[in-house]
């Protein structure tokens, strides 16, 4: 179509005008773009650079190696082992399920772990997911060889706690485990280390009480990460400080002997150095393997532990509060002597019972002891003698002496759930029960029944104090990072030396006079003579009717109704080195169930290795040798004999 020249001109002018307008608008937009670029890249560059660095650089904590725990001779009680594990990074794996399937062809992955890993992968966390833990070097090598077929899978190595002397120290050292919410809640400002994956924290025992020393200080590494959170390279590294090594006062070999000697009884034993309070061994039986808890204990294993009526998880040596029974009689005697109510030669007639306000308190010996003085009262454990003198001295004085000897108070050693026990007096009862102290309460307390409760640790402390006359306190930590912890030999108790001597003499007779309750557990070696006291504490009331019929013997009672068997002792008599306490729950009588164990432990502590049979009475040597051969003791590396591991 032809157009008029006028139209053509007009059209061209219009296009020119409009295209200039269009160009102008475009120029304006381009100017805005340029200005925005300038603003962001020049004015705000520093801010954005910071954000970019923030994106790129991540500070990762490097967990320090946990401090080791040794016995007093440097044997490892708690160590660290290399732990190989395999992790998978979701972003690199692509199809996680596919890769896991291929991986389970190479590694033994439990269905449980498989599902857990898959579930974690669905949560879209950028952090690597743990697939398998505690792998052997062989398994890790297999994974390394197959890397091309396993995208996103990588082996890792970390440290994990191991207790080479497993059951021996479960109650002392305790164990570590993964950090729980309640662990975090306990602290105002939790160490950021606690949030690092697979971090282990002390759960009970020395591991938890000495956590501050054992943990160490985290190092850090600056790493470059990609958007998926995967570490691309390390930019810098600052090593942390490993935790402090701790040496315990315990002798691992003695501890092992004690634990083995207690066997499968529900029992506890403590042996300590009389001169400085060093705990040589502190055992609670039955025990358990703390390594199970470190690895994550199975429901089956855990139920087996909780359902066992011997309560393997309870730390009976410090946590158990038992009526001390006759082992308490030294306290009553000392109180009466100190109060001046009796002298060493005071004689009491024992007809087999004690009448008080129409009520009869029986002596364990129905036919009575006849006329007894302090030495015989202790050695034959005459109850009536102590009823009588307790009536004279009163509970408050007895409680005062009891406290002086370390009963009814918490001894601060780094173990869990330490009991205070109970050393009752009039005020305590008034406050606790809003009732007056009854005269019968004093009678019961005088022979360590009634309200009095003590732990094996307290009994050991009591014995050490009687032996030394000093306020010996238990010590468990020998040194931290080779800096010895303070030794406190204890101040003088302020007890009359004559009185102490009289009580010590009585204890000597217990195990050395023919009529002593622990005579059969005597030590033959002249240099190692032992002084002790047996105790048998009732856990049930004996009714009048039962007394009339005749008290049922322990052997005829169900296990959990039998009496507790107790024994405290120290040796050598003339130069005390060690004090021991033994409690066998429902063991029957102290002289038959607890005293032999106490004697064996003292002899073991005083010998280098298994006590020589020459230390034992000739008639018992064959039996003792057989018993010692049957004990499954660890070798120098802490390994059990082959036979017992099957």
């Amino acid at each position: 179509m032809r157009r008029s020249a006028r139209d053509t001109e007009e059209s061209a002018r219009k296009i020119t005008r409009r295209s200039l307008f269009l160009g102008g608008s475009m120029a304006a937009v381009v100017a805005v773009l340029g200005a925005r670029m300038r603003h962001m890249q020049v004015d705000q560059a520093d801010e954005f650079r910071l954000l970019a660095e923030d994106n790129r650089i991540s500070i990762r904590l490097v967990p320090p190696a946990r401090g080791l725990i040794y016995d007093r001779n440097g044997k490892v009680i708690a160590g660290n082992e290399q732990n190989y594990r395999v992790v998978i990074s979701r972003d690199d794996a692509g199809n996680v399920e596919d890769v896991l399937n291929r991986l389970s062809g190479i590694l033994p992955i439990s269905a449980e772990d498989f599902d857990r890993a898959l579930k974690e992968a669905r949560r879209r966390s950028p952090l690597p997911i743990l697939v398998a833990d505690r792998l052997s070097w062989d398994d890790v090598s297999k994974v390394a060889i197959n890397t091309p077929a396993l995208p996103g899978v990588s082996p890792e190595v970390g440290l994990s706690r191991i207790y080479p002397r497993d059951t021996d120290f479960a109650h002392v050292v305790g164990y570590v485990g993964p950090v729980s919410d309640s662990d975090l809640a306990k602290q105002d400002e939790p160490d950021p280390l606690l949030q690092t994956p697979k971090f282990q924290i002390g759960k009970i025992g020395v591991e938890t009480w000495m956590e501050g020393d054992l943990r160490g200080k985290a190092g850090s590494r600056r790493v470059e990460v990609n958007a998926a959170g995967r570490v691309m390279r390390e930019l810098g590294r600052q090593e942390g400080d490993a935790g402090a090594d701790i040496r315990l006062t315990i002798n691992a070999d003695v501890q092992n002997y004690v634990q083995a000697r207690l066997g499968e009884e529900a029992a506890a034993a403590v042996i300590m150095d009389v001169s400085n309070g060093d705990i040589l061994a502190i055992a609670s039986a039955p025990s358990f393997d703390p390594n199970l808890f470190v690895r994550g204990i199975s429901h089956k294993d855990y139920n087996a532990l909780t359902e066992n009526d011997h309560r393997p998880l309870a730390n009976k040596s410090v946590q158990g509060a038992y009526p001390p029974g006759s082992t308490f009689k030294m306290v009553t005697a000392l109180a009466a002597l100190e109060a001046g109510e009796i002298s060493t030669s005071t004689s009491v007639f024992c007809p087999g019972y004690y009448e008080l306000g129409g009520r009869r308190f029986h002596c364990w010996k129905r036919q009575g002891h006849g006329h007894v003085t302090l030495e015989r009262a202790l050695s034959e454990s005459c109850d009536v003698y102590f009823y009588e003198i307790a009536m004279k001295v009163g509970i408050d004085k007895i409680a005062e002496v009891g406290r002086k000897l370390g009963l009814g108070m918490r001894h601060d050693i780094p173990m869990s759930a330490i009991t205070e026990g109970l050393m009752p007096n009039k005020d305590w009862k008034a406050e606790r029960y809003k009732k007056d102290w009854m005269i019968g309460d004093t009678v019961n307390a005088s022979i360590g029944q009634g309200y009095v409760l003590t732990s094996p640790l307290q009994l050991a402390v009591m014995t050490a104090r009687i032996a030394s006359g000093k306020a010996v306190s238990p010590r468990l930590i020998y040194s931290v990072d080779d800096k010895p912890s303070a030794v406190d030999p204890g101040e003088d108790l302020g007890l009359n030396a004559q009185h102490l001597k009289a009580v010590q003499q009585g204890m000597y007779s217990v195990s050395n006079s023919q009529r002593g309750t622990a005579y059969s557990s005597r030590i033959e070696d002249k240099a190692l003579k032992m002084a002790g006291k047996t105790g048998t504490s009732q856990v049930r009331n004996i009714s009048v009717a039962e007394r009339a019929r005749g008290v049922i013997g322990n052997a005829d009672l169900p296990w959990n109704r039998r009496d507790h068997a107790l024994f405290v002792a120290y040796a050598p008599y003339d130069n005390p080195r060690y004090a021991v306490s033994v409690v066998v729950e429902h063991g029957g009588s102290g002289s038959s169930a607890a005293a032999p164990i106490g004697r064996d432990i003292l002899l073991r502590a005083m010998s280098d290795g298994i006590p020589p049979s020459s230390a034992y009475p000739a008639s018992q040597r064959n039996r003792i040798d057989t018993m010692h051969r049957k004990l499954e003791l660890r070798d120098a590396d802490g390994k059990l004999p082959e036979s017992s591991r099957a």
Binding site: R2, S11, A12, M40, Q41, R49
Partner: protein, 379 residues
Amino acid sequence: MSFLEYHHKTVPTGAAKVLHVNWALVVLLVAIASVGFLMLYSVAGGRMEVWAEPQIKRFLLGLAVMFVVAFVPIWFWRNMAGLAYGLSILLLLGVEFFGSVGMGAQRWIEIGPLRLQPSELAKVTLVMMLAAYYDWLDIRKTSRPIWVMIPAALIMLPTVLVLGQPDLGTALLLMTGGVVVMFCAGVSWYYFSAVAALLGGAVTAVFISRGTDWQLLKDYQYRRIDTFLDPSSDPLGAGYHISQAKIALGSGGWAGRGFMQGTQSRLNFLPEKHTDFIFTTLAEEFGFIGAFSLLVLYALVLAFCISSAIQNKDRFASLLTLGIAATFFFYFAVNMLMVMGLAPVVGVPLPLVSYGGSAMLVLLAAFGLVQSAHIHRPR
């Protein structure tokens, strides 16, 4: 003036055409594409074969296409406009029924080895069609309602089809490209004002009615609009991408962090770093200097096109050149506004730089048309 009035003898023929090619424009396009190759090499972590190499091959092919198109006389293309438009509408309908879906919503048709995105093609054919329409139309009728309705319908047809794919970005580019041709052809200001007022009114009504009894949209639709307009309200989704893009861009500073040293792109913080967000990598690694230089290159392309259009006395040629320039402008402007956080993320690539074959081929063919218009201009 129409091509019928050409003094054909003054138009170069044969090999002489080579001398009349707008070489400056060719150099600019090669420069822009080279920036693309460089960045594709960088985001692939220093590897050619991932993106850069296929992109170079496609660019060379596109360049060949451009020259072929350029050497064909412009009046041929004018005559082809209706056919081309019709073909692209057919193809758009074709993808509706036979197309494959990929990358979210962009659809393509596979014809033999060729993978064609009809919506890309439509951008150019629509501009051709409208330019041819106004070349044909009596100038005095330009602003008469009935003659305004026709081009409006021509625009709406492919726009609606593309919108249905759904590809909002391309639909917007199509529409704005077409509107620009109408504007340059001289359609009265009143129409544009009226449409602008109408749109503004509708948008205002939608927003004002929110929360009232006569609310125009459903609640969830409003929430979608919110995320669209303000990605930071969805910090893990679109907001994450846009804020990472801004960090990359801003952290470049004056001179950038150095070639292949951009941490945001190297460590995968950037989304779609080889396609829609490639500009942020350039800005991160070459800084303001690099980013602004690319902007200048784009602006120069526009300047050359507009100047060529003004000088050209052929109505079809002028309108075609302007329409293509405008399409090109909307491409890079929307992309840059998007990555700088000034516009919602709509998925528009950076022309000639972003990785992608069919867009680049079509764009180079379009520049072939611009060249053809330039070579065969009436003298």
